[in-house]
């Protein structure tokens, strides 16, 4: 098989574990079959998940692939493909192509304070970035994760957040839009939207790199505050969602201005797309 063919033919992967994180979101562990199942990966990259008979959907990896070829996908049941995945169980086989896209520029972030802003399912790609930052903790300055969820029951990776909250080298700030139940034990949580949380923290904007991932409205309401605080536009990284059918810059559904989300993105510097109509 040529390299070009390998990028268009999904490899078989088997679901080995499903862990439900909220009412509509689960973490799927998949093991790639065949020789050399491991692949190189940059946090923020995505794969194309194939459900045989259903089709493909782009999904960010929630963690770097393990040496044995195990990958983790954090998926919300929202459309046809993701519903098929949610209806699957351990032992079922799916297809994987990729990884695709650029991912977060870890080199550029080295030596700087890091602020991660995750909204809802945006926690999934930022989790892979967080893992990479923690694995090389010494290479970065102050590390802050701000994570907003709709309500306490929608907070993803709760146990990992509890562990994270105990660390002294990471600042964790959680918020939920509203509460209609008791807050989860062990997690201190604010009530309100991420911009309000952002307004309340102190950070040095000139030495901070910011990575944001979340639903489309999140970008508009956080970037303004960051830029006003003095964050350089080229140090604000956004992971964008678009309709990415092929992952290879061919099908032309995902352009952001003249950049293609699947090959030039999905991570963009704010400075590169701030003047592009419809980008944010």
């Amino acid at each position: 098989m040529t390299a070009a063919e390998a990028s268009v033919i999904p490899r078989t992967a088997t679901i080995i574990a499903v862990s439900h994180l909220s009412a509509d979101t689960a973490l799927f562990s998949l093991r790639l079959e065949g020789e050399r199942p491991h692949f190189s990966f940059v946090p923020g990259q995505f794969i194309q998940l194939s459900m045989p008979g259903g089709g493909e959907a782009p999904i960010s990896l929630a963690a770097a692939p393990a040496d044995d070829g195990t990958i983790e996908l954090c998926v919300r049941r929202v459309g046809r493909i993701t519903t098929m995945l949610h209806n699957s169980r351990s032992g079922d086989r799916v297809g994987i192509r990729g990884p695709f896209g650029n991912g977060f520029p870890l080199e550029e972030m080295t030596g700087r304070d890091i602020l991660l802003i995750a909204g809802g399912l945006g926690m999934a790609p930022l989790r892979s970035l967080l893992h990479a930052l923690l694995a090389d903790r010494d290479r970065y300055g102050a590390l802050t994760l701000m994570y907003g969820a709709r309500e306490p029951a929608a907070i993803l990776f709760r146990e990992e957040l509890v562990a994270l909250a105990r660390r002294t080298d990471v600042k964790l700030l959680l918020t939920v839009d509203f509460v209609r139940e008791e807050q989860p034990a062990g997690l201190a949580c604010n009530i309100g939207l991420l911009p309000a949380l952002l307004a309340g923290i102190r950070f040095d904007p000139t030495s901070t790199s910011v990575a944001i991932c979340g639903p489309p409205p999140l970008y508009g309401c956080t970037i303004g505050a960051l830029v006003a605080a003095g964050c350089p536009e080229e140090r604000i990284y956004l992971s964008l969602e678009r309709r990415m059918k092929c992952g290879q810059g061919l099908c032309c559904h995902c352009a952001v201005g003249d950049l293609l989300c699947c090959t030039d993105g999905p991570v963009f510097r704010y400075g590169d797309i701030r003047n592009v109509p419809g980008a944010l």
Partner: protein
């Protein structure tokens, strides 16, 4: 001097002999009154003086709908290889040659598309010179030379000068020695320019779309029918679909022509649509045509064939916007 001139009287023999090299297709008049590239047995069927076909030759390299992968539970996904068929396309105008050249750059670049690449290898292009009409404007787009052909027939009064662009073309012409004569090939004639020279100069990095009330005017008239894109020789965007048998034993992945004027083109699961308005979709197509995406950034895709101007049922003409480029503030 190489023998490269074909007298009119010998053209039928030349055409006949091309059948030896593959399945011969040419512009013919279909039973429903449309000029289309179709299999042609004899030159009598061929419309040598055709203006343009309704659908450009991209249909040979990117079929409107094709199965790309087969899947079974035991074997996973497997590539479905296109049929091993050599096609000779006769009578391709310079604009359509330029269209294929553009598609080659998109589909055969760093990671060649296996389906396109296989068809392209088995595709021979025999170009044919033409006379412009009111719709086309290729002189404003490219230089004055035809390119991207294996063989090109430049019409003269009593026959055709044969230009050769590839080894494949040379090999074919080598077998036609008995039909050809010696004659000096004249310099290529200049194609007529219809637009001010600055019109296509603005497709450069960071150039925003021109601000003009025309966007709103066009968006209001546009029917989202997609005709302009379907008939465009360089529109190639595709959707990827998949269906399987109910018992789950087999599945097929299909790619089919998509259309950026369609409402669902920018929609993702969950219902967010990144190009919900017709104006946004309209600008998306314009940006792709005249400014380019990704690796084709700053490369205008338009080849000036005039099809979209002729096909639009509400007379939207993208050239009206092109004429605004660089003359107004940006939007």
């Amino acid at each position: 001097m190489a023998k490269r001139f074909l007298f009119n009287a010998l053209l039928p023999d030349f055409f006949e002999a091309l059948h030896f090299f593959g399945e011969l297709h040419a512009p013919v008049m279909t039973s429903d009154g449309v000029t289309a590239f179709r299999p042609a047995l004899s030159l009598a069927e061929v419309r040598l003086d055709y203006r343009r076909t309704l659908i450009p030759p991209k249909k040979y390299l990117l079929p409107p709908r094709e199965t790309t992968l087969d899947a079974t539970p035991t074997e996973g996904y497997r590539l479905r290889t296109p049929a091993d068929k050599e096609i000779i396309l006769f009578g391709v105008h310079p604009c359509d040659l330029a269209g294929i050249d553009y598609l080659d750059r998109v589909f055969l670049s760093s990671s060649p598309d296996p389906w396109y690449a296989r068809r392209r290898e088995r595709f021979t292009l025999i170009g044919l010179s033409c006379e412009p009409d009111d719709f086309c404007f290729c002189g404003d787009i490219g230089d004055n030379h035809s390119a991207g052909f294996d063989i090109f027939l430049e019409q003269a009064e009593d026959g055709y000068h044969l230009l050769c662009g590839t080894d494949k073309g040379e090999a074919i012409l080598a077998s036609f020695k008995d039909l050809l004569h010696e004659r000096r090939i004249p310099p290529p004639h200049k194609r007529e320019k219809k637009l001010p020279p600055s019109c296509f100069a603005t497709a450069r990095e960071g150039e925003p779309l021109p601000a003009t009330p025309m966007w709103d005017d066009f968006a209001q008239r546009c029917l989202s029918c997609g005709a302009c894109s379907a008939c465009c020789p360089t529109c190639y965007c595709f959707d990827v679909l998949e269906g399987g048998t109910l018992d789950g034993d087999r599945a097929e992945r299909v790619r089919s022509w998509d259309n950026c004027l369609f409402r669902g083109h920018g929609e993702v699961a969950g219902g967010v649509n990144f190009r919900a308005s017709r104006r946004e979709r309209f600008q998306y197509r314009f940006r792709h045509k005249f400014h380019g995406f990704g690796p084709q950034r700053n490369t205008p895709a338009c080849v000036g064939c005039g099809r979209c101007r002729e096909a639009c049922p509400v007379k939207i003409d993208l050239l009206d916007i092109v004429r605004q480029e660089g003359t107004h503030d940006s939007c």
